[in-house]
Every structure is written in structure tokens, then in C-alpha cells.
């Protein structure tokens, strides 16, 4: 694109066609105050704080909506602009509650900042503040309507960027306030991603778990990566005196892959650190009960057991690279089992003929072929980023799946049919002809029985194209690359490294079970020796997505328990037991697909009270697609029943009748 110059405040600035004056000014270091404008949102021009003077224009114009044109002369700091700006901020402040002393936003409030810098110091208006006195309280989000300045950022975020449209404006005039449908977040289908809180310029939309818990200027900020799912979101963890107070995405400031968007687990799942299920001491099975022992004793038990018996290791694919390296180093065996088993099988089929690329590289192309269902459940933020590519950059999504999805409404073309049929079909081929496209694969696809077959078809039809296989867990790619994973245990001693215990329960094996886990629950009680580990918020390390760069983890809270330290102290165990071939039992006929919702993922709805408060119940959904009936078991919370069902078909997630 050819650039041209415009003059802002006497400075010659380079501008590109279609850019707004505000954007050009921002790039050139000229500050124009804003409220309703947000980098990630569609400009609206509602607050009028960004008024600027344009030579030749009779009136002041909002810089956020004004497109730059060649030879434009803009002034942002004339007396006329300053006066208008001060009046507008004064009018906004006039109906703002001004409860800064007990507002959680105070200290990072945009109205506070802009008000101090640009508002007039004298109060002209004698009219009394019009209080609405409506407080809307959801389980995790609250709205204080008196502080709202009606910039509509939250509505644009919720409706356009997230595609949920939970929030709306009720009433009109000075009575207008922001509310979800019927004043109820859960009823209106809120996903609790927390993006509305993140973009609110004042303290109107509040994180209820942070309410009156701390002041922003006292908080220590740690930037780390969330390992609760394969999206691996970069996020800010705020702590005060060694205790986590909240997690922020910082949309617009965050330079991570996720651009600051989070899901309910990332935003509110931090309370797993303080979960009542957290383990403090190792536990050994004696008789029928478990007994607390010290770490040294635990180490001795491991040494005794591993000296005599053959052993196998289960490696959770949400551990850090360093931990996985240490496990591989200390437990030298070819018998490794992992939940990345399905992912590895898929990866092996496609990597021969296709070019594995990172999400960022995949996003460079114009058309994305999104293969797989329920991406919004397995990797919510990746689904959001795909949505944003369409909304903000007008790229195209062609969705190939077997069930309806949230992405359908913004897809250019949706194929809901047998995936094998669609991928080889002429119509898909025609759509991609001559286009720069990339494949993005994820969701439930890896857990299907036909997953390998689909991988073969993809490898055959799209030879040479780039593919981003979205990892189901944060470090699936690293585990899949490092080990040769098998599907079932057959040794006398099995060692599990897990971050959530359903993984342990799902692939049980061995006579003596050693479990490394942060949590103790019903499933963990089946183990013979349990050793506590740290959660992702306490770890230092890296995770490796399918990309050349690793994502860093920084510990936000200190803990005495550390898996890394424990592993370093262990001696090296090696065995020459030959790996047993994977024997997969493929169910004959299946009619139900088990979908693990984002709440159930990593057993978050069990360990985290915040996530549990907004998760629903397990349910069976029925779909009729192209005349055939399909059933889905939608898991919102892991219990013994769900584990039994999944275990019967492990490692697949498709079950037969009954």
C-alpha cells in the first residue's frame, strides 16, 4: 500500500489509506485522550473526548472515526480543542459516582487519568448527580451502573469480538445502564471470559473475586503463560504479599499470541492454587488408608520399588519442558504413556507431506480451513483469535466439522458433514483454488476413532500446505516430539506425572502406582504413593507449542513444593524392558461423542471454586445432521461415571450404546 503524509500538530506523519487519524497520531507519539476507543474494538465515536481540529472543517471531529486523507492538517492541542475536551470530560464526570476511594479500578482507571490531565478544574454544573443505584451481580462479574460512562466498550467486546452479546443497554437517556438479559449473566449465556472487565475504562464492570481485595498500585505483576489448555495464553498475575489477587489479560497491551484474550479458566481459575484439594505432604498407602510421610521417606519408597520392578511412566502434556526433560533423564525407559498419544498419532501422519507451522504463521494466509469440532471448548482463546481474524482483518474461515459451532456464524462456508467426505469433496477444492490458505486443526478431532484416517486424507489432499495442529494441552507438541508414546500400561510399577487427576484415573495400570499431582481427590486415592507437585502458577519453565519459540512460565507465588527440585534429587533409574506394542481396542459401533467442556478441562470445575460456580451439569445433547442422529455427552464436571465411560473407550472419546 502506498503511504501519504498528513500533518498533525505541525509534525509530518506517514499514513496509510484507511487508517484513522487517531491511529496515525498514536504511532507518531501524539497523545489524544480517548474513552470509547479501544485498539481491539470497532471505533464508535460515542464519548467525543478525542475531538480534534481539522483545517477546513467547520466543526471539531472525532479522531477515532476520522479517516486520514492526503495533505490533511490536524491540530490536537489548540485552545478550542482543549476547551471542548475539558467540557466533555467534565460532563462525563458530573454523572460519574466518583467513589475512587473504594473503587477497585482506582489507580488504573482511564477516567481518573484522563480527568486529571484534561478536565477543567472548575465545576460549572450545579445539577445533582443522577444515581441509578442498580447493582447487577453475577457469579463472577458485577456491574456497578453508577460508575458507568456508557462508552459501550463492553458491548462491542462481548457482541462483536467475542460473539456472545450478553450485555446491552437498558432504558435510555440518563437512566440508561448496562445489563445482561434479565439482569442475569448465567441466563443470558455469558461465557465468563472476562474481556468486558478488561476493556472497561472505569470501575463499572468488576471482577467479583477481586472486589475490595486490593489496590492496583500495591499489586506485584508477574507475566506468565497459562498451561490449562493448548492455547497457552500470556497473562498477568497480580499478587499482593505473596498471594494471588487476580489475573488480567490486558487486551490491547498484551503482546502475547492471545492478545490479552482469556477464557474462564485463565481469568478465574487461579484459585486452584488455594484449592481445598491441594496436597501438602506425600502420602503412602498403608493397609486401607493413606498415611502422611516426609519427602525423604517418599524418595526411599520410590527407590526401593524401582530397583526390583519394571516401571512405566505417564507424562502429562501440560508439564513444562524442563520437567519433561528431567523425567526423561531420571526415568530411562522406552515405555512412556501420555495424554498426547492421540496428538502424536495425528502429527505423525501429517508431518511427512505437510509443513507444520505456528499459529502466527498460519494466520498469515488469507483463508483458514478449520477442521474439527468444539474448538471453542478445547481451546477457547484460539477460537476467539480465529473470530477476530475474520472481524478485524476480513479473512475467511472455511469450517469443516460434523457438529454446529460458534464459529459458524462468521465462517465464509460451513461444511457440516462426514469430515472424510468433505475434505476430499470437489466443492472444498474449488473454494481453495488459487487461494493462500492454511489448515488449522483442533478440537475433538484427535479423540475420534477415525482421527488417523482424517490425518491421512489431509496429508494426501493438501500436500505441501502449512498446517497448525492446535495442541489439546499446552505441551502436547513437546511430548509428542520427545517420546514414542504407547497407549496402555503393562508393568508392575507405574509412575504418573499429572496436573489433574482424571488423567491418572483414565489410564490406570500397574500393581504399584506412584502419583505426582498437585491435588488429592477421589481419583488420587487409588494411588499407592502420592507426591505433591506445584501448579502452573508456581512454576518456572517453558512450554513448547508447534512453533520455533517457546513460551515462558514465571512463578507468581512461591512454594516449598517443587516437582523439579524433587526430580533433581532422585537418582537415575534405567531399565531395558522392551516397549510393548500399542494394542488399541477399537469399539465396534459408536453413537456418542464425549466432549470435555472448558469447565471440565483439567478438572477445573472440581478444583476451582470460581469455575465451579459458573459451570453447568453434564448433559446429553442430540443432533440431527443430514438425516443421521448424533449424540453428545457434554461433560461439565468429572465424576466417577464419566471416567468409567471414557476409560472403556480409552484413548478414544467415542462410546457405543448405553
Amino acid at each position: 500500500m502506498e503511504s501519504f503524509t498528513i500533518i498533525i500538530d505541525g509534525k509530518e506523519c506517514e499514513a496509510f489509506p484507511g487508517e484513522t487519524v487517531l491511529k496515525v497520531a498514536e504511532r507518531n507519539g501524539i497523545v489524544i485522550p480517548t474513552f470509547c476507543y479501544h485498539k481491539e474494538l470497532r471505533p464508535e465515536g460515542a464519548c467525543r473526548v478525542c475531538l480534534v481540529e481539522v483545517e477546513g472543517a467547520p466543526r471539531l471531529v472525532t479522531a477515532c472515526t476520522l479517516k486520514a486523507i492526503p495533505n490533511m492538517v490536524v491540530r490536537t492541542n489548540t485552545p478550542r480543542v482543549r476547551k471542548a475536551r475539558a467540557t466533555i470530560i467534565r460532563m462525563i464526570l458530573n454523572n460519574h459516582a466518583l467513589e475512587c476511594k473504594d473503587c477497585d479500578k482506582s489507580g488504573e482507571c482511564e477516567l481518573q487519568m484522563t480527568g486529571f490531565r484534561h478536565a477543567s478544574k472548575d465545576i460549572k454544573y450545579k445539577e445533582e448527580i443522577r444515581k441509578k443505584r442498580i447493582l447487577i451481580e453475577g457469579k463472577l462479574i458485577a456491574i456497578n451502573t453508577d460508575r458507568c460512562i456508557l462508552c459501550r466498550r463492553c458491548i462491542r467486546m462481548c457482541g462483536e469480538n467475542m460473539g456472545n452479546r450478553v450485555l446491552g443497554i437498558m432504558e435510555r437517556g440518563y437512566k440508561a445502564y448496562i445489563s445482561p438479559f434479565n439482569g442475569n449473566f448465567e441466563e443470558s449465556g455469558c461465557e465468563h471470559c472476562g474481556s468486558c472487565i478488561d476493556v472497561c475504562p472505569v470501575g463499572s464492570l468488576l471482577d467479583r473475586t477481586f472486589k475490595h481485595k486490593g489496590r492496583p498500585w500495591k499489586l506485584e505483576k508477574t507475566w506468565t503463560t497459562c498451561t490449562l489448555c493448548g492455547s497457552g495464553c500470556y497473562m498477568e498475575v497480580d499478587t499482593c504479599e505473596g498471594e494471588i489477587k487476580r489475573v488480567m489479560g490486558r487486551i490491547g497491551v498484551n503482546h502475547g499470541e492471545n492478545k490479552g484474550y482469556l477464557c474462564v479458566n485463565g481469568k478465574w481459575g487461579w484459585d486452584i492454587v488455594y484449592s481445598k484439594y491441594r496436597l501438602k505432604k506425600p502420602m503412602l498407602k498403608r493397609g486401607s488408608g493413606l498415611e502422611e510421610i516426609s519427602f525423604e521417606e517418599a524418595m526411599k519408597v520410590i527407590e526401593d520399588k524401582l530397583k526390583v520392578g519394571n516401571f512405566e511412566v505417564f507424562v502429562d502434556s501440560s508439564l513444562t519442558c524442563e520437567e519433561i526433560d528431567l523425567i526423561a533423564d531420571k526415568f530411562r525407559t522406552k515405555n512412556v504413556i501420555s495424554d498426547a498419544f492421540n496428538y502424536q498419532r495425528f502429527l505423525e501422519k501429517v508431518e511427512e507431506t505437510l509443513n507444520i507451522c505456528s499459529l502466527k504463521e498460519a494466520f498469515d494466509s488469507d483463508v483458514f480451513v478449520v477442521v474439527g469440532d468444539f474448538l471453542e471448548e478445547s481451546n477457547p482463546v484460539t477460537a476467539t483469535l480465529l473470530r477476530l481474524k475474520v472481524i478485524q482483518e476480513h479473512k475467511r474461515i472455511i469450517r469443516v466439522g460434523e457438529f454446529p459451532s460458534k464459529l459458524d456464524s462468521i465462517s465464509y462456508k460451513v461444511f457440516i458433514d462426514d469430515m472424510e467426505k468433505t475434505l476430499t469433496s470437489e466443492s472444498l477444492n474449488k473454494l481453495l483454488h488459487g487461494k493462500r490458505f492454511s489448515l488449522i486443526v483442533g478440537g475433538t478431532i484427535y479423540d475420534l476413532i477415525k482421527s488417523e484416517k482424517i490425518a491421512e486424507i489431509v496429508a494426501e489432499t493438501f500436500k505441501g500446505a502449512s498446517i497448525h495442529p492446535i495442541p489439546p494441552e499446552s505441551n502436547s507438541y513437546y511430548v509428542a516430539k520427545k517420546f514414542r508414546i504407547k497407549s496402555k500400561f503393562n508393568s508392575s510399577v507405574s509412575i504418573y506425572f499429572v496436573n489433574s487427576n482424571e488423567k491418572f484415573a483414565l489410564s490406570e495400570g500397574g500393581e504399584f502406582k506412584i502419583l505426582f499431582t498437585p491435588f488429592y481427590d477421589d481419583f488420587a486415592s487409588r494411588a499407592d504413593l502420592i507426591i505433591p507437585t506445584d501448579t502452573f502458577l508456581e512454576k518456572e519453565g517453558k512450554i513448547h507449542p508447534p512453533s520455533t519459540t517457546k513460551k515462558p512460565l514465571k512463578s507468581a507465588v512461591k512454594t516449598e513444593i517443587s516437582l523439579k527440585v524433587f526430580l533433581q534429587k532422585l537418582p537415575v533409574f534405567s531399565q531395558k524392558l522392551e516397549p510393548t506394542p500399542s494394542s488399541l481396542i477399537i469399539p465396534e459401533s459408536t453413537d456418542t461423542l464425549v466432549v470435555i467442556s472448558k469447565h471440565a478441562k483439567g478438572m477445573m470445575s472440581t478444583y476451582s471454586n470460581h469455575v465451579a460456580s459458573v459451570s453447568g451439569r453434564n448433559k446429553t445433547l442430540e443432533f440431527s445432521i443430514n438425516g443421521t442422529k448424533k449424540k453428545i455427552l457434554f461433560v461439565e464436571k468429572f465424576d466417577g461415571k464419566v471416567v468409567e465411560i471414557l476409560k472403556s473407550s480409552y484413548p478414544y472419546r467415542e462410546i457405543g450404546n448405553g
Partner: protein, 169 residues
């Protein structure tokens, strides 16, 4: 429940005969059906509309609560709107409103005890040539005086009292 089923059928009929390209445009006509046939627009009704038209419930609620002619709170059988905009005000619209309110013992925006009339102060209804004006549901009454206005409403009341059940739909 029967009423809701009836509403579902009505809105589906509306959708079938829609002159508009998008279902969103039907939110207001659909709300109008509820407004006409139910004493108030309830969240249940909005949910039904949202589901059939394929929009989010909050979009329906926004519209229902924005316009003064949609009632999300219980209204009387007859909604009496007295204009107090410029032409009507100059010709005594405010005194008519006052007289009616005094007669029935209510304030503007309230419903009479028998549930018959909801008295509202309205903006311009385009009846300036016959100012001062008022409407009872969708019937116009122009060139009013306080006495005339009360007489009109008393006539409505007399007719209603003749019927067995004034609250029937």
C-alpha cells in the same frame, strides 16, 4: 403456557410473511404483538421472540426497554396517553393530564386500582391540529377539555363494567 404457545405461532406467522430481508427487523413487530395481547412484556416473551428470530435475548430486551410504548411493567387494559408537547401544552394539555390523574387518584405513569387505565404523559403524537389531544390505546381524541377527557374515560369504564370479565384478553 397456552398463551406462550399462541405467541410462538403468531411470531412464526410473522416471520413467514416477513417483508424484511433480516429477522432482526421483526423484533419490533413481534414486541408489538406481545404489547397488544399481554398486560406486560415479560422476559419469557422476549426469550420466545429471540429464539424464533435468531437474535440474542438482550437485543430484544434493549428494544423493549428503550421505547416508551412497550410496557415491561404491568399496564392497565387501556393505556391513556396525554400529549404534553408544545402545541398541546399551549392549549392546556398539562391541565388535562392533571385533571385525569386527580379524577382517578393516580400519578402519571401509574395504573388505576381497577386495572383499567394506565395514565401516561406522552410526547408529540402528530395530532397538533387537534391540540390538546390524547389517545386511548389506539383511538384518538382531539380538541379536549379536562371535562371532555374525563367523560371519554368514564364512558370506557361504563362499557367495561357492563362486561363480566374486564381483564379478558
Amino acid at each position: 403456557m397456552d398463551n406462550l404457545n399462541w405467541l410462538v405461532k403468531e411470531i412464526e406467522k410473522l416471520k413467514r410473511n416477513s417483508p424484511y430481508p433480516s429477522a432482526r427487523s421483526l423484533i419490533m413487530p413481534a414486541l408489538w404483538i406481545v404489547e397488544k395481547h399481554f398486560p406486560e412484556i415479560l422476559p419469557e416473551h422476549m426469550e420466545v421472540i429471540a429464539k424464533i428470530l435468531g437474535v440474542k435475548p438482550v437485543e430484544v430486551e434493549e428494544i423493549a426497554r428503550f421505547y416508551a410504548m412497550f410496557h415491561t411493567k404491568k399496564k392497565g387494559k387501556y393505556v391513556v396517553r396525554v400529549c404534553t408537547n408544545l402545541s398541546c401544552m399551549l392549549n392546556g394539555g398539562e391541565s388535562i393530564l392533571q385533571a385525569i390523574c386527580d379524577h382517578f387518584g393516580v400519578k402519571p405513569g401509574e395504573t388505576t386500582k381497577d386495572g383499567l387505565f394506565t395514565i401516561e404523559e406522552a410526547e408529540c403524537m402528530g395530532l397538533c391540529n387537534g391540540a390538546p389531544a390524547m389517545t386511548v390505546n389506539e383511538t384518538r381524541f382531539t380538541n379536549l377539555t379536562p371535562q371532555k377527557a374525563i367523560a371519554v374515560l368514564e364512558e370506557f369504564k361504563r362499557k367495561e363494567n357492563g362486561k363480566d370479565n374486564p381483564q379478558e384478553r
